[in-house]
């Protein structure tokens, strides 16, 4: 009886590998027509996405994905790391659990609800501030001109909100691995709290925090529905961060329904999905490398589950 159970469970585990392999192969087969018609480099780097004229250069979409994710990281990571630092090092003990739950709660709000909120609240409320910024700092690159309602910046801001809980949760776990002795040594040498953070805590956890940021980046790259609602869905590459744009995930969500009848359009959208998958794969690979290195320093060595919603980080 024991061997059959073992065999069945091994088979079930192997099924995961089969699913992933099947996933990649099917996506590649369906996307191949567009790669063979245009060439992979042309598909990725051509700056023209005009399905009506049968032009499929995905660069505006890839650039949009990278721009929005970069904005999300620039805004989201400092906030997330600060929240993690505050909870682990600075905040009074009774507040700790409440703050952790509240930050984790950000992950419980579905993407479509963030989108709904952004369309009817964030975009109209923040537009005057954006216009002021655009006018005042028009000497900066990629700033200036008329602000569009939906734009790259709004999408980045929304993505920042969505990656804060995951980056913060993983940073918390990484910060918890800093040995108490290092912190006490810094304090004993007369360091203030901030000096302790700067000299003992941050250098020790730098790799882990980079990993957390990369995991956040992976999340931001693939986020679909909220971005679709606030990016403006214009396949023309915008000239400033306040212009309308498009991302890989948004183009799939938006155009796939109508593309079912046009095989080349459909193939190019699947190719966009494949490019997106490869992007997130590379980013997650780098992230895992950093996070596992940080995990190995932890006592016990149990794998840290990525928190999915509130309280997953037990």
């Amino acid at each position: 009886m024991d061997t059959p159970v073992r065999r069945i469970l091994t088979g079930v585990a192997a099924l995961i590998l089969v699913i992933i392999a099947f996933f990649l192969i099917r996506l590649y087969i369906e996307a191949r027509p567009v790669f063979s018609a245009y060439g992979a480099t042309h598909f990725v780097f051509d700056n023209a996405w005009l399905p009506s004229k049968n032009l499929y250069g995905a660069w505006p979409l890839i650039a949009g994905t990278l721009i929005t994710s970069a904005i999300a990281l620039i805004i989201g990571v400092p906030i997330a790391v600060a929240a993690a630092l505050f909870v682990t090092e600075l905040c009074p003990r009774p507040l700790r659990a409440t703050l952790t739950i509240l930050v984790d709660l950000l992950a419980a709000v579905p993407s479509v609800v963030y989108g709904l909120w952004a369309v009817f609240f964030l975009i109209p409320k923040i537009k005057p501030a954006e216009q002021w910024f655009s006018d005042t700092f028009s000497f900066l690159p990629f700033v200036g001109g008329q602000v569009a309602g939906p734009n790259y910046f709004i999408a980045g801001l929304l993505l920042a909100t969505m990656i804060i809980p995951i980056v913060s949760a993983i940073s918390r776990e990484v910060l918890a691995t800093v040995p108490q002795e290092h912190k006490e040594a810094a304090l004993a040498l007369g360091a203030t709290r901030w000096e302790m953070i700067r000299l003992a805590v941050l250098p020790y956890s730098r790799a882990g925090i980079s990993g957390a940021a990369m995991l956040g980046l992976g999340r931001a790259l693939g986020e679909t529905i909220a971005v679709t609602l606030v990016i403006g869905n214009s396949a023309h590459l915008g000239s400033t961060i306040f212009s309308q744009g498009y991302t890989l995930a948004a183009v799939i969500a938006n155009e796939f329904g109508e593309a079912a009848s046009n095989p080349v359009h459909r193939a190019s959208l699947i190719a966009a999905g494949l490019v997106l998958f490869l992007l997130t794969l590379v980013v997650n690979f780098i992230a895992r490398f950093y996070v596992t290195r940080a995990e190995k320093k932890m006592l016990g060595g149990a794998p840290v589950a990525e928190p999915v919603a509130t309280g997953a980080a037990a």
């Binding site: 993407s111 203030t192 799939i252």
Partner: protein, 303 residues
């Protein structure tokens, strides 16, 4: 909190900390605290607007009618755009089927990894690919299920159960990873005592390991369910969205996230209002799942 300098902390022999360093410390702490508050601003605003706009939509027929009325011309007094009954039913059915697929499958993989595979090369490969799956954008799973199940015409075109498959793919890595953590927490002494009493490995797993880890496994699974319930992208081209009330998973089905997504893009106040109402209901559903998951965790016999 007030910052005790280290001289107050009893180290009277040391020279006082210079005012410049104290100031820098205070500024840095305030800055970190302020950033933490900023992190919570979106949460407060989202919750506030959800309650403000959403509760208004919960009128008499919100839960008892379907969103079939799409147009409401100004001046019409008796027209109704309808509620979200079919969307609620669709979400419940689709997510239930996805859970039935993903939870046993994911738990079985985790049991294999912890009890049989351990640190073998094959087990580590599986672990690695589970991590890869965690990072796959949810829209890519939607595409995959579209290609494999919808475009190939297996059992008709769009159908509720195909949406379930897409959600199950999304839930699977979450279930595997959280279950693996919990199973690793089961003390080895329990396994060893059962084995020493002559129980075969499968029986040890079934009657010792799984019952001990039960509440932890439930927590992980419920969090995966909560995550899946809010996903829109995998359902877009698998379950599709029909407005009518549909009971069978074999046909195209409505769901709450899709209803919200479609309503947001319709420039009509009453329809947007319905989106807020549906969003409030969806968030409450997810919060309840999270709460139950937390309660299960609290009852856990493991640390």
């Amino acid at each position: 909190m007030s910052a005790p300098t280290f001289n107050e902390a009893g180290l009277r022999g040391l020279p006082p900390v210079s005012p410049g360093r104290v100031r820098k410390d205070r500024i840095a702490r305030t800055f970190i605290g302020a950033l933490t508050l900023i992190a919570l601003v979106p949460l407060v605003l989202v919750v506030f607007y959800l309650l403000k706009q959403g509760l208004g939509a919960w009128n008499g027929d919100f839960f008892t009618t379907d969103p079939t009325g799409r147009t409401c011309f100004p001046g019409q007094t008796t027209c109704s755009i309808g509620g979200v009954r079919s969307a609620i039913l669709g979400t419940l059915e689709i997510v239930a089927l996805a859970s039935v697929i993903a939870i046993p499958f994911g738990t079985a993989v985790a049991v294999y990894l912890v009890e049989y595979g351990k640190q073998s090369k094959f087990a580590n490969t599986v672990r690695y690919f589970v991590d890869v799956m965690t990072g796959v954008p949810s829209v890519a799973f939607g595409l995959f299920v579209y290609i494999v199940l919808v475009a190939s015409g297996i059992g008709g075109s769009y159908a509720g159960w195909k949406g379930s498959v897409a959600l199950a793919l999304l839930m699977l890595p979450i279930v595997v990873r959280s279950s693996e953590v919990v199973l690793n927490l089961v003390p080895n002494q329990l396994r060893e005592s059962a084995l020493a009493l002559g129980a075969p490995r499968w029986k040890v797993i079934w009657s010792v390991v799984l019952p001990t880890a039960r509440s932890g496994l439930i927590t992980g699974s419920l969090l995966a369910v909560a995550r899946a319930a809010g996903e829109t992208a995998p359902l877009l081209f698998t379950a599709f969205a029909t407005n009518e009330l549909v009971f069978g998973l074999g046909q195209p089905m409505n769901s709450l996230p899709l209803q919200i997504f479609n309503d947001v893009r319709t420039p009509q106040d009453a329809i947007v209002q319905r989106a807020w109402g549906a969003a409030l209901f969806l968030v409450l559903l997810i919060l309840i799942l999270n709460l139950v998951a937390r309660l299960a965790q609290r009852r856990s016999r493991l640390a």
